[in-house]
Symmetry: C2
């Protein structure tokens, strides 16, 4: 089906990912304002949306550039969006990928390509390849400030790595970045503020170590969305790489960083079966909404305005809605809109999404960087 | 990157989905043999692979047709595979979808299109639309034999629905189908045999009710893979719709229906960071392997031959491997192959997969029915 502009939302086929443009613009504007008021740069992570048109809206609102996870995402964005300053917040390993990275770095439209590194093993082949081409690749060192994923430990180990990288002929050190994922352990707002401050503190004291050693540190970058309302105010942090803020989701509501009315992405679904008094089944399962469920409530998503409907189970093509008020039980053919638990992997399932304003289709966007896992 | 034939597996870029052709053919052959020996039809569910070339291998091995969940999948398969007998095991609801269904039913290459229904609300619009076009659409009634998803309850409610559908001018009743998902609650092989027999028993006694009422029931179809070794032997069942058997996965190993050496799908990944003594990070996270983890062990997949490596956590682009033997700790650049917990949603993340034999690429397959959620 080709989706025509001006189609009423209620006439769309299901399941369909809807983007509420008013909410999207509000979410973009909110972070842009906070950042401006506090002298911070925004370099949004496009992993959340993977849509060039949305990247352009972020850039228009003042983002200094974009963040990608994979080279394939950056390749799409340089061709299809206006982004000309891209940071690949990932360790690029292996000959094939380094070749692609350097080819991308030489793209005529690109002003700057920077890349992450958290070890000599990652940095050395990058430097060797860049040097052979007479290039100096800006590297931002990934430092671990308390979330056990990647990153050289903050403090002295980061300093030692920075010293070694600063002597590598193909690289220049452009800054430090961290992902303060520990904020997702917060149970209260005060807790989140404390965890964010602790993570930022480790990052900033590491920056001090490097500067005292004569290593220039331009970018000091943090990433998480739910704590961005706190990190944006911390002096010394220069950049926020938030991704999820653009749409928000059930998780962001849980962490107090969004309300239901801030959620710009919903999944329009249809009831296909009502086989029991307490169960309605929708046409969106884990292949439409992922199998990520709320760690607190166990549900796969929220049905806005319908607390009587609990999205308690999902198999690949079926979503099971537990009906708690049989008098309001949905019927076959009814449409339900769902706010997913976690939006980022949802976008990675869909080839296109529909941008909606005032209940009508305003645009159909290809999720052009979907599936770019390499 | 264009992937060349004969490329060594170890030279492929990562992450990459690999299909071991010897294992794939063995899996197809095993079910085909069981079915032949027991006089059953195989109508594999292509949701697991979504690859026309694999559907053709199943048909070549004797499958009577294929099962799809969505019209979009069937549209791809009729164009790109040799399938000419398609069952859409799903409730088709809404004008747009019914129009597409009937257009598909008239496809010149298609010998037969059948579709599921579990209520009057689903059947009536199908009948109305088929009648207007002078068609008789074969309907297979979905009956619930103990797994709370869709399906009219087995026994008398199914008989009542069948009586009504048999009077609808645009439809013919072609049989009954059920999904015996309760077998996933089994903790032992004996338990699974019992649960499968109970589910099949409910289905067969419902068939008896319909036949006693003069309603012909041709197809009597069950679906689950882990219990197929038992259901294939149950008299009266005419058809198996298994999907997962084609690849197998950690879940099938857990349920005793496969061994590690029966798993035909693996994800080739690369270690990109080893930031701690007990942690290696690979370039495959939930956007490559999904966020489905073993309900028993909590891991996202197995690393064959490496019980010292536990895939304990995954974020979107990172897989965290807990290293239990520091002396064998992987290094940056090492390649690891992972058997995912659940293969079906994995295929739905990837645009192409690589078919491998004797360590070399034999074919690159587009996952042509990926993302066909409507």
């Amino acid at each position: 089906m080709t989706i025509k502009k001006r189609t009423l939302k209620d006439h769309l086929d299901t399941p369909m990912v809807l983007i509420d443009l008013d909410r999207l613009e509000k979410n973009i504007g909110r972070l842009a304002e906070w950042a401006k008021a506090n002298g911070k740069n925004v370099r949004p992570h496009i992993k959340t949306h993977k849509v060039p048109e949305i990247a352009d809206l972020q850039l228009k609102a003042g983002a200094v550039g974009i963040t990608c996870a994979k080279i394939g995402e950056a390749e799409v964005m340089i061709e299809k969006s206006r982004a000309d300053d891209i940071f690949i917040a990932y360790q690029i390993v292996g000959e094939e990928k380094i070749r692609r990275l350097l080819r991308l770095a030489g793209h005529p439209r690109l002003k700057r390509l920077s890349v992450g590194a958290d070890s000599i093993e990652v940095a050395q082949p990058l430097s060797d390849a860049a040097r052979r081409r007479g290039m100096k690749l800006p590297v931002i060192i990934k430092t671990d400030v308390g979330y056990p994923r990647t990153g050289v430990p903050s403090g002295k180990p980061t300093l030692e790595l920075a010293r070694k990288i600063s002597r590598m002929p193909g690289l220049t050190i452009a800054g430090l970045y961290a992902y303060e994922g520990q904020v997702f352990e917060a149970t209260t707002s005060a807790d989140m503020r404390r965890l964010a401050a602790e993570g930022a503190g480790r990052l900033l004291s590491t920056v001090d170590l490097l500067r005292a050693d004569g290593i220039p540190v331009e970018t000091v970058s943090l990433g998480a969305t739910p704590s961005s309302r706190f990190t944006v105010k911390i002096p010394g942090i220069t950049e926020l790489r938030c991704g999820t803020y653009i749409f928000n989701d059930q998780m962001q509501i849980r962490y107090g960083s969004a309300k239901e009315e801030d959620c710009a992405l919903t999944i329009l679904t249809m009831v296909i079966s009502v086989p029991a008094r307490d169960r309605a089944v929708i046409d969106a399962g884990s292949k439409t909404i992922t199998s990520e469920r709320s760690s607190e409530f166990g549900v796969f998503g929220l049905v806005p305005g319908r607390p009587d409907l609990c999205f308690t189970n999902a198999t690949e093509e079926h979503g099971m809605i537990h009906v708690t008020s049989p008098r309001r039980r949905p019927k076959v053919g009814d449409r339900l809109e769902i706010i997913p638990n976690h939006v980022c992997p949802v976008m990675n399932l869909h080839d296109e999404v529909v941008a909606v304003r005032d209940g009508r289709v305003e645009a159909v966007w290809a999720v052009a960087a979907r599936g770019k896992i390499r």
